[in-house]
């Protein structure tokens, strides 16, 4: 018991040190960290839809986009504060998720993957061409920024906002996972037939998981819109959706920590591979394959399996 307390205390101190250390980072480093956190928020959503409910979800970027555009438009057209904009973004994405998930509850496996692909591509085409509302290819600019009016550099201030939101998202996700809803999802992941036999309404459960996933995506998108002040269709297409799902798989599809690790890892990877130049994405494809084949449980799962016995033995 005291050992666990020690661990927790250690973690808190480490966290505070990291947060204090962030003040010494350059704007560029903070920007990467912020983008990683924003990605992590939408990938936690995917943890529910794909990691637990097993739905191959290739439209999360579109829900990020719905959150971003809804929040940006609310702030621009209705002149609400960006904070209210965040709420609007989450609600818009969750509603869109419900609209797609409800008819989808009958379709499963590859059909579901293809439905989300169709949705993803259609969404991108629509925001590219609905110029009067979305600004078309040029995107939306001059979106009101989310500020706390502190004396800090804007990047640093937004970094702290993002850390706080991510922490809230993680806590919410952990509570949800421990709730009857989360336990039912885990039962479905382990054995769908057995779960159905014990009275779980699988279609309903998956619909809920999908809506939850969309809400996380919407929050991430709304934050993104009020961070850079500019959004364009390029950020919300199928390629980005594939990237978000890859983050979960690389990090470890069965853990919330995996979602965060994967988001950071794949956001930083282009920087680390910059010396390769144009071939970066080819290496990325190979890397994905290697993770799938060699680390079936992702970075977190594999490292955990490797570390835990050693730590236990050393005691």
């Amino acid at each position: 018991m005291t050992k666990r307390l020690e661990h927790k205390l250690g973690a808190v101190i480490l966290f505070l040190a990291l947060m204090g250390g962030a003040a010494f980072l350059s704007d560029f480093d903070l920007r990467l960290a912020i983008l990683s956190i924003l990605a992590a928020i939408s990938v936690i959503g995917l943890y529910f839809a794909f990691g637990l409910a097993g739905m191959i979800h290739l439209a999360q970027a579109a829900f990020v986009g719905i959150g971003a555009y809804a929040s940006a438009l609310a702030a621009q057209q209705l002149h609400v504060s960006p904070w209210i904009g965040l709420v609007v973004g989450v609600i818009a994405a969750a509603l869109a998720g419900a609209l797609l998930a409800y008819p989808m509850h009958r379709t499963r496996s590859h059909y579901l993957a293809l439905t989300t692909v169709g949705f993803s591509v259609s969404f991108e085409v629509i925001i590219r061409n609905w110029t009067s509302v979305t600004g078309g290819y040029d995107g939306l600019g001059a979106i009101p920024l989310l500020r706390l009016d502190t004396a800090m550099r804007s990047e640093l201030e937004f970094f702290y906002i993002c850390v706080a939101v991510l922490a809230a998202c993680v806590v919410a996700a952990m509570l949800l996972r421990a709730s009857p809803f989360g336990r039912a999802l885990i039962a479905v992941r382990d054995d769908e037939l057995a779960a159905a036999a014990s009275g779980i309404d699988i279609a309903r459960l998956k619909t809920k998981a999908f809506i939850l996933c969309s809400a996380y995506g919407g929050l991430s998108g709304a934050l993104y819109a009020h961070y850079g002040g500019f959004i364009s269709p390029d950020d919300f297409g199928l390629a980005r959706a594939i990237m978000l799902l890859s983050m979960l798989i690389v990090g470890g599809e069965f853990s919330i920590l995996g979602a965060i690790v994967g988001a950071f890892f794949l956001t930083y990877l282009p920087e680390w591979l910059r010396f390769i130049g144009g071939g970066y994405m080819a290496v990325f494809g190979l890397f994905m394959l290697a993770v799938l084949i060699v680390m079936p449980k992702g970075i977190v799962g594999s490292l955990g399996a490797w570390l835990v016995p050693r730590v236990a033995r050393s005691r």
């Binding site: 794909f50 097993g54 191959i56 008819p103 989808m104 009958r106 379709t107 499963r108 496996s109 590859h110 059909y111 993957a113 293809l114 439905t115 692909v117 169709g118 949705f119 591509v121 259609s122 085409v125 629509i126 590219r128 061409n129 199928l238 390629a239 594939i242 799902l245 890859s246 798989i249 144009g278 071939g279 970066y280 994405m281 080819a282 990325f284 494809g285 190979l286 994905m288 394959l289 799938l292 084949i293 079936p296």
Partner: protein, 295 residues
Amino acid sequence: MDAAFQQLMQLLLNGIAVGCIYAIMAISVQLAYETTGVVNFATGQLVMIGAVVGASFALSGRLGVGEIYVMTLASMVAIGLVFAVTVYWPLQSRSISTVVIGTIAVGIFLQNIALIFFGPLPAKGFSPVGDSVLNILGVVVPAHTLFASAATFILIGGLYCLLHYTSIGIQMRAIAQDVEVARLMGIRTTLVLAFTWALTWVFAGIGGLLLAPLWLVDVDVGDSVALKAFAAAIIGGFGSIPGAIVGGLLVGLNETLSAAYISTKYKDVLVFGLMIAFLLFKPRGIFGESVNERG
């Protein structure tokens, strides 16, 4: 004959040619799905590879059209076998969604490797019938549209014969029914699956070779083409060859006609709207698989 009617006829012929090519790609998707349960998300990149490899053989100048086709398809067989050995077999025992995501990774890899080797410029299409045009009762069409349609029907006829009258085809169908039982019956499933993957790659490659003269095919064409192939497979019905033909033609005609008469910008949305409607309300498609969904 008035101009509007002439235009309509040209659009119809064009739509049919494009639709036939989509049908070939849809069959490529279906072959893999039927025997392995995997929806191959790299299909579009395979089509692209077929087109750019064909074009670069053509650029080298010394080869005849027949040789270009043969060498391109031989390359596709080789890459297909490499895929089966390096990606499919290691992942075979894992969940279907893992393999599906593996095919996405393969697609990303192929697209960017192609970008490095062939550059971002569109492949110049070439056709066995050249750039000639035919004048049929006042309707002017490129000869290639007729060639593509004819080639499609010959190929599909060939595939039908392969599946029903040859030993390997019957083994493929046995595996599609139940891979475990097929293995117990003494079918060497590993070999047959490798053959299936090679065939998948070849069909996609032929799709690329036929598509290149109609469109500008560059290394980014993969995703949009793959989606049309999926749409064709879904609308027609997964697991049905007549379904692939009907689905392909519907998607091709829908795309060509709606681009001309409704909106160029939204033509893809109309196609995917149709696909999503089928997915949601009639997921088995027109000719639909009757039973299980795997994975």
